[in-house]
C-alpha cells in the first residue's frame, strides 16, 4: 500500500555483497559484545545547510540524522556506536573514500557515511555502509523525500544497516500506538497517543474525555481499533489515523472489548460480553457480517490471529483459571496450550508465526514470556510486580509491554511505563514517553 503522505522514493540500487562480508552480527543470543561501528555525520554543502536551517530550524541536519541512526543501533543492543570525537576523517571525504586505517585505528568494524542535500525543495539523502576490515562498501542507498520527513530517513538508514549486518529486517521505521495516562490512580485520564518508535513525534488522538484502552494497528498502520467508553458504553471502535474519523464496530447490545485486526486487515476479532459471559466474535469490515467464534459459558477473550490467519490464540478460564488456548479461525479444534504453574493471559502470535508471547502471573509476580505454538519451550523473559500486554516488533525480535509500580502504604508512587526487551531476555529498556503510558502496540514497517 502506498502511503501518499510519505513520498519516499528509493533512487539508487541496493548492492548485495552478502557473501563477501566479514562482519556478522549474531542476533539469536544475548549480545555481550555489541559490534563497534562509526556513524559519521552526513555531509552537506554550506548553502544547503543554511537553507535547511531556515526550513527546519536545525543547525546541522546531517549530524542529527546520524544521531538517529546511532541511537537506534545502540538501543538494539547489537551495536556499539563509537564517539564521534574520536573520528579522524571529515564526513564529506569519508563518504567519498574512507581511509580505512583511520577507522580501524579507533576499532570501528563498520562505518556509515552519507550526504544530505536539497534538490528542488526535496531532501535527498544518500548513505554508504563500509566494511572497515575488508576495506569495501557493502551497501549504498539514496532517498528523496519532503524535508519534514527527515527523522524517517534516519530510521530507514538504521533499518537498512541492521538488515545488511544481521540478515533480518529492522524495526526502526515504525510507530507505537499506546494509551497516555495522567492523574490519580483512582481517576486516571487516558488518551490514545502515537509516536515514532524512538519516542519522537508524539501525537494525541483523543482528548481524554472518555476512557480509552487497548489500541491496535491494522496491517497498513492507517487504522486503529480500540476500546472506548464514549457515552459510558464500552464498545470497540475503529479510528482512521489520518482523517480522525471514528466509528463503532458492529451493533452489539453490550460491551465489546479486546479488539485486534485479522492479518489481512479485513476483520476485527474481539470479545462481546453478555449476561456475564464473554465470547469471541469477528466482524467483517466490508460486509459487516458478524460471526460468533467461541461458544462457552467461561470467559473467552484476548484473541490474536496467527500471521497466516488460520489460527487464533486466546485467553479462557474454562479450566477454572486463565489459560492460553488455540483454535482454528472458525472456532473448531480448541486446544489448551499453557500448562505451567500460574495464570496465563494476553497471548500474542509472533509475526514469524513460531512463538506466542504472553503474560503470566505466578506467586504474586508478573512475567512476560514466550512459548511455542504447541505450548512447549516456555521461556520467561522478565519478572516484575506488575507488567502485561506484550506486542511484537515487526521482525519478531523485540517485545514492548507496560509495567506498573507498586504504591506505598499511602497509595502513592504509582506509575505506568512502556518497556522493551529482546526475545533473548536481554536488553531490557525503558521506552521514554511524554506521560505515563500503557497498552503499547507496535506498527509494521512503514516503508517497504
Amino acid at each position: 500500500m502506498i502511503n501518499k503522505r510519505l513520498l519516499l522514493i528509493i533512487l539508487l540500487i541496493f548492492f548485495p555483497f552478502k557473501s563477501f562480508a566479514l562482519i556478522e552480527v549474531d542476533i539469536t543470543r544475548g549480545n555481550l559484545n555489541p559490534l563497534p561501528l562509526a556513524v559519521s555525520s552526513l555531509a552537506s554543502s554550506e548553502s544547503d545547510k543554511e537553507k535547511l536551517k531556515k526550513d527546519l530550524n536545525i543547525n546541522d541536519l546531517g549530524l542529527e540524522i546520524s544521531k538517529i541512526v546511532e541511537n537506534n543501533l545502540k538501543k538494539s543492543g547489537l551495536f556499539n556506536p563509537l564517539d564521534k570525537e574520536a573520528f579522524l576523517q571529515k564526513p564529506d571525504i569519508a563518504h567519498l573514500k574512507p581511509r580505512f586505517e583511520d577507522w580501524a585505528l579507533i576499532k570501528a568494524q563498520a562505518l556509515i557515511t552519507g550526504k544530505v542535500n536539497l534538490e528542488d525543495d526535496k531532501l535527498r539523502v544518500e548513505f554508504r555502509l563500509w566494511d572497515v576490515l575488508a576495506g569495501k562498501e557493502i551497501l549504498a542507498l539514496a532517498f528523496t523525500t519532503v524535508p519534514k520527513n527527515w527523522r524517517r530517513v534516519g530510521h530507514i538508514i538504521s533499518d537498512k544497516v541492521y538488515e545488511r549486518l544481521t540478515g533480518e529486517k529492522g524495526y526502526f521505521d515504525t510507530r507505537i500506538i499506546y494509551v497516555a495516562e495522567e492523574g490519580p490512580k483512582t481517576q486516571r485520564v487516558k488518551k490514545l497517543a502515537i509516536m515514532d518508535q524512538d519516542g519522537f513525534n508524539t501525537k494525541y488522538l483523543t482528548l481524554g474525555n472518555e476512557l480509552v484502552l487497548t489500541p491496535r494497528f491494522n496491517p497498513t498502520n492507517q487504522m486503529v481499533t480500540y476500546l472506548s467508553y464514549f457515552k459510558n458504553l464500552p464498545r470497540v471502535y475503529l479510528l482512521d489515523i489520518e482523517t480522525g474519523m471514528q466509528e463503532v464496530v458492529g451493533d452489539f447490545a453490550g460491551m465489546t472489548f479486546a479488539p485486534r485486526f485479522s492479518p489481512d486487515g479485513k476483520k476485527i476479532i474481539m470479545s462481546f460480553a453478555k449476561d456475564g459471559n464473554s465470547d469471541i466474535y469477528t466482524m467483517n469490515l466490508e460486509s459487516r457480517i458478524v460471526e460468533k467464534i467461541t461458544n462457552h459459558p467461561s470467559i473467552d477473550t484476548s484473541p490474536s490471529y496467527s500471521p497466516d490467519g488460520k489460527y487464533i490464540a486466546f485467553n479462557s478460564d474454562r479450566s477454572g483459571y486463565q489459560q492460553i488456548y488455540i483454535m482454528k479461525s472458525n472456532g473448531k479444534n480448541v486446544k489448551r496450550i499453557s500448562f505451567g504453574n500460574g495464570l496465563y493471559g494476553t497471548p500474542v502470535w509472533s509475526p514469524r508465526g513460531d512463538l506466542i508471547a504472553f503474560t503470566k502471573l505466578h506467586k504474586g509476580k508478573f512475567y512476560i514470556g514466550v512459548m511455542r505454538t504447541d505450548g512447549k519451550g516456555e521461556r520467561l523473559l522478565t519478572e516484575n510486580f506488575y507488567q502485561e500486554a506484550p506486542s511484537w516488533s515487526p521482525n519478531g525480535r523485540v517485545l514492548i509491554f507496560y509495567r506498573e509500580t507498586k504504591t506505598d502504604s499511602k497509595g502513592e508512587g504509582f506509575s505506568a511505563k512502556l518497556w522493551s526487551i529482546d526475545l533473548t531476555g536481554y536488553n531490557e529498556r525503558l521506552v521514554e514517553t511524554e506521560t505515563d503510558a500503557s497498552d503499547p502496540s507496535w506498527s509494521s514497517l512503514l516503508s517497504n
Binding site: G254, F257, S271, A273, Q322, A389
Partner: protein, 161 residues
C-alpha cells in the same frame, strides 16, 4: 532443684508468650476483621442508597460468587428497589489491579451480572438494571496491598435516574 523456682519460670514464659501473641494478633485482627477468606467485609468505602441499604458487594480474587453477606446486601437493595419502583440502577463491576486488563473487563462484567441475577430473583425487572464493567480502571483504593485489592473487587449499585 527448687521446684518453686521452675514453676515460677514456666509461669513467666507462659505469661510473656501471652503478651507477645496479643501484640501479634492485634494487627492481624485489624485486617482480619475487614477481610474474610479474601473478601472485604469492612465498611470503609461503602456508601448507602438509603438508610441501611449498602451500595456495594465484594468478591474473592478471580471470583464472581456472591457471599452470604453480599446476598444480604442485595436483598436489602431489592427491597428498597421494590419500594421505589421509579428508580433504575446501573451495576458497576470492578476488578483489582492484579490481573490482565482484558480479562478483568470480562470479570467485572461477570461480577455485575451475578449481582443483577440476584436482584432479579428478588423480583426486580431486568429493564430497571443496566450493567457496566470497568475492569481494573476505577479502583476505589489506590493501595497495592491485599486489603486495598479486596475493596476494589466489587459491584456497586448506582442510581441511574
Amino acid at each position: 532443684m527448687n521446684l518453686g523456682k521452675i514453676y515460677k519460670n514456666i509461669f513467666l514464659v507462659i505469661f510473656l508468650g501471652f503478651v507477645l501473641s496479643a501484640c501479634a494478633t492485634q494487627t492481624t485482627q485489624k485486617i482480619d476483621s475487614q477481610i474474610q477468606g479474601d473478601v472485604y467485609t469492612g465498611t470503609d468505602t461503602v456508601e448507602y442508597l438509603a438508610d441501611g441499604v449498602p451500595d456495594r458487594v465484594f468478591f474473592a480474587t478471580n471470583e464472581s460468587v456472591l457471599t452470604t453477606a453480599s446476598r444480604e446486601t442485595l436483598r436489602k437493595q431489592a427491597s428498597w428497589l421494590r419500594k421505589n419502583s421509579e428508580i433504575t440502577v446501573v451495576l458497576e463491576g470492578h476488578a483489582d489491579e492484579r490481573g490482565t486488563r482484558e480479562y478483568n473487563l470480562a470479570l467485572g462484567e461477570r461480577r455485575a451480572n451475578a449481582a443483577k441475577d440476584y436482584l432479579m430473583t428478588y423480583g426486580i425487572s431486568s429493564s430497571r438494571i443496566s450493567i457496566i464493567s470497568y475492569g481494573k480502571e476505577r479502583p476505589v483504593d489506590s493501595g497495592s496491598n491485599p486489603l486495598a485489592w479486596s475493596k476494589n473487587r466489587r459491584s456497586v449499585t448506582v442510581k441511574a435516574n
